[in-house]
Symmetry: C2
Subunit: 83 residues, 2 copies
């Protein structure tokens, strides 16, 4: 069993209203010095078998087709742990 | 300027309907072998100044008060890069 992590973030040129809302709320809560916030998604997938290059390629495909919208989002995949 | 990442995930004992929806959709798209999916949030914060222990403690506070709901979510904070 191996755990993979897929991080999905809005592309830099895409507006991110959720991140902007957090950025606006921080000073009201007394936090200073934050110049930008981007909000994205994190998926943790448990997959049978060992962490192989083939399994990682499968996760890349899942990330590109189901977990992210490639028009507006970038994703990054990595193996987190293996048990 | 330093970039901090806050990963927010539903606690293990909390139901995660978004993750379950992804888990149900994967076989229909031809992906086999995935036994569990959890969906959470990822925040990237740009903060003025160098990455210090004080700044990291501030980000921990932001994560615990604004970015996560500590009743149902766990969070992890790390420094991603420094420029």
């Amino acid at each position: 069993m191996a755990r993979y992590v897929v991080d999905v973030m809005p592309k830099p040129e895409i507006l991110d209203p959720q991140g902007k809302a957090v950025l606006g709320a921080l000073p009201r809560l007394g936090f200073a010095g934050v110049t930008d916030v981007r909000q994205g998604k994190r998926f943790e997938l448990e997959i049978e078998g060992d962490a192989t290059d083939e399994a990682l390629a499968e996760v890349q495909k899942m990330a590109g087709t189901l977990l992210s919208n490639p028009v507006i989002e970038d994703f990054a995949v990595h193996v987190e742990s293996q048990a």
